[in-house]
């Protein structure tokens, strides 16, 4: 396995210490060796990757400039369009769809920077779930304990980075689908502000709530990828904001005072003791004020839950009429139920959004950063249907994101940071910033990383 950063690989390629081809071949070999156990990749694009790597090496040999990620391998959740490849979104019913005509915008921007796309990654069907136990492609297993899940829905994306197969991946997050697997697999994940990164070419799930974002093993790589993907995209009406690169000012923000609050109320109920312990450690490191209330969080979670079902059900209505039994059963029943909701449910959920957004903005008048648990518990077992939460037996699939859903409902940026606890199951914490202030969340993450409080520690060696 390789735990070098994307930035370090690219620097070595630029300096001639290695070649893009050698790095790409090494990544392909790692995937071939480890994917049988992990099931993180659902497709490998060896031909495309090697051709791009050779083009980078040719540019370097000719003295032409290459991008900041030149030769660094990356992979994407299989809901991103890849030119010439059918976009599965974890489903069976899309297996006979036409191949995508072009790469998703996010892939275009990373490849333009020299990153080499090596494959596509497993996920919950249509991104509806927190477990990546896909009925068609099988479960993705957690690199830290193969008997446990990687989380979802971007489980393959988190597992591939955690296992050292690639240093950088992309996922999507509608209700927690970057933050939950980042937490369970012990890597960094960024869910930016709603509308910050283009969703063009990412198969939709819930138009009102869909985000995309990167996973990496360091704050520097996470920030680099985020900065490279920023900027308006005429093909995504939500993505209009000019790029505001975070990297140049990150250290200065990290070194300056930050007003940090730790959320209580909804966010302090039901979490496992080790999750609360992780939160306390990170709160101590950032000198956070405890017990900060975010009024309406429970209602926001409920509204996100219903809006997801309603919009997802509406999106899939025609396929549900024609081919319901071709869906993953765990997803199908939720989409069918969503389709049966009266229209007023989605409308009411949209009405509650600005109310909760304004409540959060009020809290942010006193804080730069808010902390909350990412997942309710460390990674549950593969096949585990229920878990205990607040003294009740509840569905794993529906409840792992209880603390992430209120935040994505109002589109706030969040970095999930992995507590540095080698030898134990990973636990992540949400570092939440006001809208459009990803730099604050990334800077807080950087401060924690430099203090050794958070780190993407390596999974155990396997024979």
């Amino acid at each position: 396995m390789s735990f070098r950063s994307a930035a370090a690989i690219a620097a070595d390629v630029r300096d001639g210490a290695t070649t893009a081809r050698a790095e790409t071949e090494a990544a392909l070999a790692r995937i071939a060796a480890a994917n049988g156990a992990l099931n993180a990749f659902t497709a490998v694009f060896a031909g495309r990757a090697l051709a791009q790597a050779d083009a980078i090496d040719a540019d370097l040999a000719a003295g032409r400039a290459v991008g900041p990620l030149a030769g660094a391998p990356f992979a994407v959740k299989n809901l991103f369009d890849v030119a010439g490849v059918t976009t599965l979104a974890g489903s069976k019913i899309r297996r006979d769809a036409s191949p995508a005509a072009r790469d998703a915008t996010a892939i275009q921007r990373l490849t333009a920077a020299g990153a080499v796309l090596v494959g596509a990654l497993n996920m919950d069907e249509f991104a509806y779930g927190f477990v990546t136990e896909n009925a068609h492609d099988g479960p993705t297993r957690n690199p830290h304990d193969l008997t446990r899940i990687a989380g979802g829905s971007s489980g393959g994306s988190a597992a591939a980075v955690a296992a050292g197969l690639v240093p950088l991946t992309l996922g999507s997050d509608t209700n927690g689908s970057i933050r939950i697997p980042a937490s369970l697999c012990g890597v960094f994940g960024l869910k930016p502000t709603l509308g910050r990164l283009s969703r063009q070419g990412a198969f939709p799930f819930v138009e009102s709530l869909d985000h995309i974002g990167p996973f990496a093993r360091s704050v520097a790589d996470l920030t680099l990828a985020y900065d490279l993907m920023q900027g308006p995209d005429p093909l995504d009406p939500l993505c209009r904001r000019p790029a505001e690169p975070a990297a140049p000012r990150l250290q200065a923000i990290a070194d300056a005072p930050l007003r940090v609050g730790m959320l209580g109320g909804w966010f302090a109920q039901g979490a496992f003791p080790e999750v609360l312990e992780a939160l306390e450690i990170i709160a101590d490191a950032l000198q956070a004020r405890r017990g900060v209330e975010l009024p309406g969080a429970e209602q926001a979670r409920a509204a996100a839950f219903c809006l997801t079902a309603a919009e997802g059900g509406e999106l899939h209505l025609e396929d549900l009429k024609a081919r319901a039994l071709d869906y993953d059963p765990a997803v199908r029943d939720r989409l069918l139920a969503g389709a049966l909701l009266p229209h007023g449910v989605a409308e009411a959920a949209r009405r509650y959004r600005p109310i909760f957004r304004d409540a959060a903005a009020k809290v942010f008048e006193d804080f730069d950063i808010l902390l909350a648990p990412a997942s309710v518990c460390p990674a549950p077992g593969v096949g585990q249907a229920t878990m205990e939460m607040g003294g009740q037996e509840v569905s794993v699939r529906k409840n792992l994101g209880a603390y992430t859903q209120p935040i994505s409902y109002i589109g706030l940026p969040v970095v999930t940071v992995p507590l540095n606890r080698p030898g134990k199951l990973p636990i992540g914490v949400q570092v939440i910033a006001p809208a459009w202030r990803e730099d604050l969340a990334l800077a807080a993450a950087l401060r924690l990383e430099q203090a050794g409080v958070v780190a993407a520690h390596r999974p155990p060696e396997r024979p």
Binding site: G195, A303, L336, P342, V345
Partner: protein
């Protein structure tokens, strides 16, 4: 905000009436509910009804008729 009649009726359903609601609504949509799916769908719909109650009750009566084009 005045809650629309269909939403009010849905929120007022007792749990043991959700199955009948599901069948009627499915028929209205032309959406077949395969027998294998029906128990799971009803469980999910019951959960969704309870969740909807949670936030609909928190909406102010004075909410504007127009829904804001959401921006974070």
């Amino acid at each position: 905000m005045a809650v629309d009649p269909a939403l009010s009726a849905f929120l007022a359903l007792p749990d043991d009436a959700v199955a009948a609601y599901a069948d009627a609504r499915a028929e209205g949509l032309g959406l077949p509910l395969p027998q294998a799916c029906r128990p799971g769908v009803i469980d999910n719909l019951t959960l969704l009804r309870r969740q909807a109650e949670t936030f609909v009750a928190a909406l102010p009566a004075s909410a504007a008729d127009e829904i804001e084009a959401f921006a974070p």
